[in-house]
Symmetry: C3
Subunit: 330 residues, 3 copies
């Protein structure tokens, strides 16, 4: 009934900014290594509905990580392929008019099929067509959202999530009207609360109650709504090629084809940090960087990825309640 | 009248699996060398209506082979350009809703112009829009079809061609309801009969009664309906970049601009085998492989291509009858 | 009222073919160096509505030159982004049916916003949809047009500009019905008069009365309508990759975000000449050339660009009158 009712979150999540290193023997590291190996061994199919600018890089990155790719812009294709693919990636970077209805229909079909998918809300806040599409996803949300800080904050606003302001307990919502471009104008930490609230919102719709939000930046942030993981490292050359973020979203879907949402998001982010560092060594500009980056996606080992530095902080249990709007659930 | 009548082929073609090396002085090798040289010398224009994922690689591959490229998604563009281009490439990998009518109209216009074209039936069998488009091509078919084994089998099914089962004479049709993804799930040999029947079907519509079908895989297969050519070699790294098959289709159209369909398909397949082998030497992953592959397309000589290992087997003369449905011919 | 009235230009401009070297201390060289540095220092956003073939290269070239990129195909996106971007690039290489209305609407909105933009009239003269779009731009023209000689001549024809024939004073118009493909069939010099007349036409609509036309070829030509600059150099390998011209248009928009139209066009052309020369050294084919070219766009210095050989010739003052049709102005 109340599709515009605001989901609520009790208390502040702004304390979740510090943390401790994830132990070397933490089971999550084993899950990451297992996911990376399983993709290389089983070449799972993850399909994509992604923007025209970087669709080639998304497919090549998924192949370099070991997966199989299929790209489409038609609901009948996507639904047919969802029956044989294990995950789907949707990216709203470049839109055509017919996408407005198509993407909402696809999301509802994927929801009915209990099919996991990754959303990349590129340029959230720009253009009424994009806003209408992102709004349509509110009642048929993805399993993982991956974006830069500005996009995560803007999407939380579009979805009318009740995000507490960072550093205060006043309950004032942050960012709900903030437009964001394709480049982040906010730093990763500023999206921490939006990411936590969003992850809780997503999991309230997930069949197995598991979801994740990944915020890319100088230090990446990944959360399942209970725990915040921060992954430092990577190369600043990633901001000098187009599609670094988009292809990270695609590879996240590839890992989601074999792993739980949190592990998929962590594995993809760690792979990208290690591969971009490897690519930056000896590159002589963005052209050679991109060539070397695809090579590195292919060469980085599961062990290297799983051994990545990860800082973990737990969101206080008292904050673990969230009452999402459920009007749109199937 | 009977657009759904099934074309018939008398007898089995499944014997055509073995063969002998094509002699070094076979005239076909001279035709291949001539085609490769003529492209480098005359930079012929072949235009493309191809998917958004790999359109850049298709154009770059055509340029690297020596040709000129023009890409479009509009019937008025395609028809205008067909008047100055010598061949056209159509690839149904990524579709938009308006393609459903546009592609059928384009095929009928090309047929009326007696303009040769290459079809890449990417993902044949997936999605009702793609199936409708491929069905529309049945009565205005291409000069060459190039696909992986699954796509060739699926397209033969969509076109309702009467393909005898491999290894039997029961006349049971194979693959008519088989859906295939963008990756082949069948090996090349399993598509031999479908390829032969399809080549005969295509040539029954061709103004000069010449056509070809090319099946890509570990060992490529090319047939004009009378003879089956198999081309071993190439690099498995071709499966780790997106667009290897699509760009092969584009380069086939480039050669079709200067040569007969059989020669064009053989030359393109042989070029791709030699270039991918050259690219694989010393590459350190799929990024450097793709860069080196474009260089190799540029550097491989007409002599190297024409000297490629080719195994030839003739389809028994008794099988050389085919009664295609002609309801759709202009 | 008279949207088909022909703009007039008094006298011949065909004398403007010779010239003298631009002095090392010419202020224009300082403006070029300043523009290049300012892009690297301030990473300005230039957005693009560009073809699907080379959209990735356009974005990567803009990033390599130091700018920021955003790509879209929707009027609401473009208009929203125009409010935060400093320039826009529109390229009509690949069209979809809805572009026919969308692009005219976008041009009119940009005009109302006094927002500078660059047009790349790819394949001008091919297809009625493209011609209709280019015609729509006549009354809401760009700040800069960049194309090859055939495209500039064809666009002058579509706009019904009164271009005097080269080498005569008869006033006979040249090229008004000439169709041109994506490859130039005319040499740069043959488009000199069309470029001069077009630059005068563009500036008659420009808020600050400044505009430029750039003709790419073996020797590039840039004019603001008063002076003709010719920039020799560059590598012929640029014709062996797709998107050399498109990405030059995109980078021109990046410079237009920080500089006047003439300086932007000169800086982009000089950068491309220097970068392509650097890339050609040691490349082993078009694949390595493209990788090295993106690296070179990143590495070429403002000093190198500003010191480029430039031949300058002034159009006689008596020719400096033009009476454009103003029926379509806002």
């Amino acid at each position: 009934m109340s599709t515009d009712a605001s989901p609520d979150i009790t208390g502040s999540t702004s304390a979740a900014l510090n943390g401790t290193p994830l132990p070397a023997d933490d089971p999550e590291r084993q899950l990451i290594a297992k996911a990376v190996r399983e993709v290389k061994d089983t070449t799972p199919l993850a399909q994509s509905f992604t923007n025209f600018v970087t669709v080639n890089l998304v497919a090549n990155a998924q192949l370099a990580a070991g997966g199989t790719a299929a790209m489409s812009y038609l609901p009948d294709d996507i639904i047919d392929t969802a029956a044989i693919a294990k995950a789907t990636y949707i990216n709203v970077g470049t839109l055509l008019p017919f996408f407005k209805d198509a993407l909402g229909n696809i999301a509802r079909s994927l929801q009915a099929m209990h099919h996991p998918w990754v959303l990349d809300p590129v340029a959230a806040g720009i253009g009424r067509t994009r806003s209408a599409i992102l709004w349509a996803f509110r009642s048929a949300p993805p399993t993982i959202v991956r974006g830069n800080a500005s996009e995560i904050i803007a999407l939380a606003g579009i979805w009318d999530l009740n995000v507490p302001s960072a550093g205060s307990d006043t309950g004032a919502k942050e960012g709900t009207t903030r437009p964001a471009g394709v480049e982040a104008v906010d730093d990763v930490d500023s999206a921490t609360n939006a990411a936590i609230v969003m992850a809780r919102y997503l999991r309230s719709y997930a069949p197995n109650h598991r979801a994740a939000v990944a915020v890319s930046g100088a230090t990446d942030l990944v959360t399942d709504g209970d725990t915040v993981y921060r992954l430092p490292g990577g190369s600043s050359m990633m901001t000098k090629i187009t599609g670094a973020g988009c292809s990270l979203g695609g590879v996240t879907a590839t890992y989601l084809a074999v792993a739980d949402p949190l592990t998929a998001a962590l594995a993809a982010s760690a792979l990208y940090n290690r591969a971009s560092e490897q690519a930056a060594e000896g590159c002589t500009g963005p052209g050679s960087f991109q060539t070397r980056f695809l090579d590195a996606l292919w060469n980085v080992t599961a062990e290297d990825i799983a051994a990545s530095p990860i800082i973990v902080s737990h969101v206080p249990a008292s904050q673990n309640s969230v009452s999402p709007d459920t009007a749109g659930t199937a």
